[in-house]
């Protein structure tokens, strides 16, 4: 198997704290495992060359995973394992076009494992997008939160789905799944299915799903201050997508995301 440089990875903090296993251009599979008690900040600014990404957040380590995509047609599978006391903060900014399928499975595999995963997705024209992020609480006192925010316009179809599963014995675990999509046009089609599967009593769990047009009260509030309806709609829409910027530290990437949002709106 050829070993090659990860040209798409722009930023890895503490370069001594990671190793890469099994990556080749032919199978497009990358596995990245953090060392114990390390800190990794990984930005992949174009997922095109990766079909499968395996992340292992080792004991006591913190992993920030920032993913950005704006290519056409992709199918990605991401598997994340968070071990005891490990923390994963995931950010996925999806501005891809056409037909896309993103599947992410997160395994909270040790006590106090913690994962927060945020998604911002824009579907327009005739895009068909499926974003599924599922999380399994395989151990006690684990914490998981998934927030998916999307904007769906023209004739696009956007589906957010995922299951947060707390297994029997994973006591004191906390899980939260939120999926919200603002729909612009009559021909747009959006689905939000944040599911909970709970096999333990002593836990905290919540989920929320919202699919709808822009709230009339929000629109009135903004226009009552002088903004035109078009400007108010744009501001509200950007409000769905721009919070993802918090997951991207580099100014040039932030600017690229802002341009992608504004360009496609």
């Amino acid at each position: 198997m050829d070993r090659i440089t990860l040209v798409n990875i722009l930023n890895i903090v503490n370069s001594g704290d990671y190793f890469i296993d099994g990556f080749s251009m032919s199978d497009k599979v990358i596995t990245i495992e953090s060392e114990v008690n390390s800190c990794i900040d990984l930005l992949i600014n174009n997922l095109a060359n990766i079909s499968e990404l395996n992340i292992v957040v080792n004991e006591g380590s913190q992993f920030i995973l920032s993913l950005l995509t704006d290519e056409e047609m992709f199918k990605h599978k991401i598997k994340i394992t968070v071990k005891k006391n490990g923390v994963l903060n995931g950010y996925f900014a999806d501005f891809s076009k056409a037909i896309n399928d993103f599947n992410c499975q997160i395994d909270l595999a040790g006590e106090y494992a913690n994962c927060v995963f945020k998604v911002a997705s824009l579907a327009s024209r005739s895009d068909i997008k499926k974003i599924d992020i599922s999380l399994v609480h395989n151990h006690s006192k684990t914490i998981g939160r998934i927030d998916c925010f999307g904007v769906c316009k023209d004739e696009a179809k956007l589906t957010f789905s995922g299951v947060s599963h707390i297994i029997k014995g994973a006591i004191k675990s906390k899980t939260q799944q939120n999926a919200k999509v603002v729909v612009f046009d009559k021909a747009s089609d959006a689905v939000a299915k944040p599911n909970l599967k709970i096999d333990e009593n002593d836990i905290e769990a919540s989920h929320a799903a919202v699919v709808g047009k822009i709230n009339d009260e929000h629109l009135f509030y903004l226009t009552s201050r002088g903004l035109s309806e078009a400007d108010a709609k744009e501001l509200i829409t950007l409000g769905y997508l721009k919070p993802i910027l918090i997951g991207f530290k580099e100014d040039d990437i932030k600017n690229r995301i802002s341009s992608l949002i504004e360009g496609r709106m």
């Binding site: 009552s224 002088g226 035109s228 769905y240």
Partner: protein, 272 residues
């Protein structure tokens, strides 16, 4: 001088007539207390003036500076110099307070304000309102306490500098200190010649901002227009004198009953 002139205004919400012929004129620089029991049309009047889409004007006129307000969309009404400080300001997730305020300010300027000047203005206004600056950098009203939301309304008023501000129960949710701060800001704005039409159920705010006039709305109409002694009297004795002295029966604020049938009782059916 800017004048708001409302004539024989009728408006309804969800098919129910709320405003039944409102006549009211407010001149620039006046501070008018708008009083009345709950459910008699005070907030509806404010929403109709600003053009809330839920409220339908069936007849009557509103002119501001001789411009037909009802013919304008909401944002143009704001640009004319009208401002509504809301009773329950919306929480708008993701929209940053300062971004929103800057966009609102630029909407009424020919040349956009520079970032430096905007933040200077914002810094000054937040200090005056004793608001932490970070509220300006958070999502619009999201997670704000009741008092913070009301201060945020006054912050917007200060930055946007309207000619006439309609304040709908701006004192609800404010503690005693916050009320003093807000009243002080209103007093400074009064000195600049700004007009105010203020709804409050408590005399405390009126004592602090000293309205020049008081008007009372009953059953969707203005039935009394006079000096500040009116709100003092209402604060002490309530609205009973409207009935005894003016002979106006005050309709009770009754919540709409849900007319949807839930069908026959399953338990009763089971027992039978």
């Amino acid at each position: 001088m800017s004048v708001l002139k409302i004539s024989n205004l009728h408006a309804e919400v969800d098919g129910k007539e709320i405003l039944k012929g409102v006549n009211l004129t407010i001149s620039e620089g006046e501070t008018v207390a708008l009083l009345g029991p709950n459910g008699h049309g005070k907030s509806t009047l404010f929403n109709v003036i600003m053009g809330h889409p839920r409220f339908v004007v069936t007849s009557g006129t509103i002119y501001f500076d001789d411009i037909d307000v009802l013919a304008l969309p909401t944002n143009e009404r704001a640009k004319l110099g009208l401002f509504l400080g809301m009773q329950a300001p919306s929480e708008v997730p993701g929209v940053i307070n300062s971004d929103f305020l800057k966009s609102a300010l630029n909407a009424r300027r020919e040349k956009p304000i520079s970032t430096y000047n905007f933040y200077k203005l914002l810094d000054q206004a937040t200090k005056e309102l004793k608001m932490p600056f970070d509220l300006a950098t958070r999502a619009l009203n999201e997670g704000f306490s009741g008092g913070e939301k009301k201060r945020n309304e006054i912050l917007q008023l200060k930055v946007l500098e309207p000619k006439l501000a309609l304040l709908d129960e701006i004192d609800s949710g404010l503690d005693v200190d916050a009320m003093q701060v807000v009243a002080e800001v209103i007093r400074k704005e009064q000195e600049k010649g700004r007009g105010f039409l203020i709804i409050s159920h408590y005399a405390r705010l009126y004592d602090l901002v000293k309205p020049t006039r008081a008007v009372v709305m009953i059953n969707g109409r203005i039935v009394l227009d006079g000096g500040p002694e009116i709100f003092k009297r209402i604060d002490q004795t309530g609205y009973e004198f409207i009935k005894t002295e003016l002979g106006i029966e005050i309709a009770k604020d009754e919540p709409n009953m849900n007319t949807v049938s839930i069908g026959s009782c399953a338990v009763k059916t089971g027992v039978e």
